[in-house]
């Protein structure tokens, strides 16, 4: 008997919750009663993430916008609605700059120039705030040569004096709000600084799902990991779900099998990154739950014999 952990991001028409259940259902149909399955949806942002966290028992209010002022207004409205868990998704603002901090504050009802720093800190007192960072920016720091002012400023060819001034302004804000620099604070133009001042926790969508599912505990008890994703190419390496899960499985010596709507990567590259095999579900963007279930059952026959 094997204990199988099934995790999936969106595949085709199926969101992570539906895709994960379809894969598990397909595997279970091949070995009824003979194996145990744990099902964990994985998502990186947006409504998929909200649905995944809800399926994992964490009801959240999702707030997102591609405009910092609008994001501020939506966040303030959600906070004023009362206690609860609030999920602020910053992925649409991955290209924001430090100039957008003033707009975000304005949306929150804070005058950046005149309001007491304690007023911002008090706004988020009753809310459990999760801030979802753009997936490839989770390590970005706020200050210094590797901080957002230097990273964006020098890339744009700005003079040293301007970069230093902006870095100093960010440092002042962080000090006023009692926030210490940390990985992720420099994501999305430094906007997470404001949410950190509100008491928010910064993490990627994948990390939020891992925490909600207590995934590392489940991993330590499973014999096989199956991860689903929409596309698996040399460019994306399966996306956040595979990139996040494969190392966790590999460091525990657990074989990891990837199922993808479409595959365009060599076996050698896949094995180098801790994936035993990647199987195509042969459907790409048109796959629905039934097709995923059926294709997964075919794959399962060679793995759970």
């Amino acid at each position: 008997m094997s204990r199988v952990l099934v995790c999936s991001d969106r595949i085709g028409l199926a969101d992570p919750v539906i895709a994960s259940r379809a894969i598990a259902s397909g595997f279970a149909s091949v070995a009824p009663g003979g194996h145990q399955f744990a099902v964990v949806p994985l998502a990186s942002s947006g409504p998929d993430l909200g649905a995944a966290l809800s399926a994992l028992g964490q009801e959240t209010t999702l707030v997102t916008s591609g405009d910092p002022v609008d994001l501020g207004r939506r966040t303030r409205a959600a906070m004023d609605a009362g206690p609860g868990r609030l999920l602020v998704d910053l992925t649409p603002l991955a290209e924001a700059t430090p100039d957008d901090i003033v707009g975000l504050l304005a949306g929150l009802g804070i005058d950046a120039a005149t309001d007491d720093p304690g007023r911002l800190r008090g706004l988020g007192a009753a809310v459990d705030l999760l801030v979802i960072l753009p997936g490839d920016q989770s390590a970005h720091r706020l200050l210094g040569l590797e901080g957002v002012a230097a990273r964006l400023g020098y890339a744009a060819g700005r003079p040293v004096a301007d970069v230093l001034a902006e870095d100093a302004e960010l440092a002042r804000r962080a000090s006023d709000w009692g926030v210490e620099d940390a990985p992720g604070l420099g994501a999305a133009g430094g906007l997470p600084l404001v949410f950190a001042a509100l008491g928010g926790r910064l993490l990627s969508g994948f990390a939020a799902c891992v925490a909600a599912a207590r995934l590392t505990e489940t991993l330590s008890r499973c014999d096989l990991v199956v991860v689903g994703t929409d596309t698996f190419t040399i460019g994306n390496f399966g996306g956040p779900a595979v990139l996040g899960l494969a190392p966790l499985a590999s460091e525990r010596g657990i074989p990891c099998l990837a199922l993808a709507g479409s595959v365009d990567i060599s076996v050698r590259e896949v094995r180098r990154h801790g994936i035993e095999a990647v199987q195509s579900l042969a459907g790409g963007g048109t796959l629905d739950a039934d097709a995923i279930r059926e294709a997964s059952a075919r794959v399962a026959r060679t793995w759970l014999a």
Binding site: L145, E146, Y154, A155, V160
Partner: protein, 114 residues
């Protein structure tokens, strides 16, 4: 290569100092100094920026070698502690070179490091 001994900071060899002085003398502006900075970029992650200017930024760290002033900004200073700027004009190499003990690796062109 001769180096006037100072205990810390950025080191400018005599050859580099002489070259900077010559370049500054050919410029119409007076009071120019060598500014060296570090910025993200290049093939190894960080890259050096060398310019002649007369700016005096808040937090600047300055050293003087052979009568020539070399300046770096407060953000770059930690990455340049103990770095030596030399000037070579040989058949194998021409231009300013930077030997930085803080660099764990660099690219073949010498302009980028990590």
């Amino acid at each position: 290569m001769s180096v006037d001994q100072q205990t810390q900071g950025i080191i400018l060899t005599e050859a580099a100092a002489n070259k900077v002085a010559a370049l500054a003398a050919s410029e119409p502006d007076e009071n120019l100094h060598l500014r060296i900075g570090v910025a993200a970029g290049g093939c190894s992650g960080l890259r050096y920026q060398l310019t002649l200017d007369d700016s005096d930024l808040d937090g600047d760290v300055a050293f003087e070698w052979y009568g020539v002033k070399v300046v770096t900004d407060r953000m770059s200073a930690p990455y340049l502690q103990g770095a030596t700027i030399d000037f070579a004009d040989t058949i194998e190499q021409q231009g300013f070179t930077i030997d930085n003990p803080n660099a764990s690796g660099s690219c073949a062109c010498g302009d980028s490091f990590n």
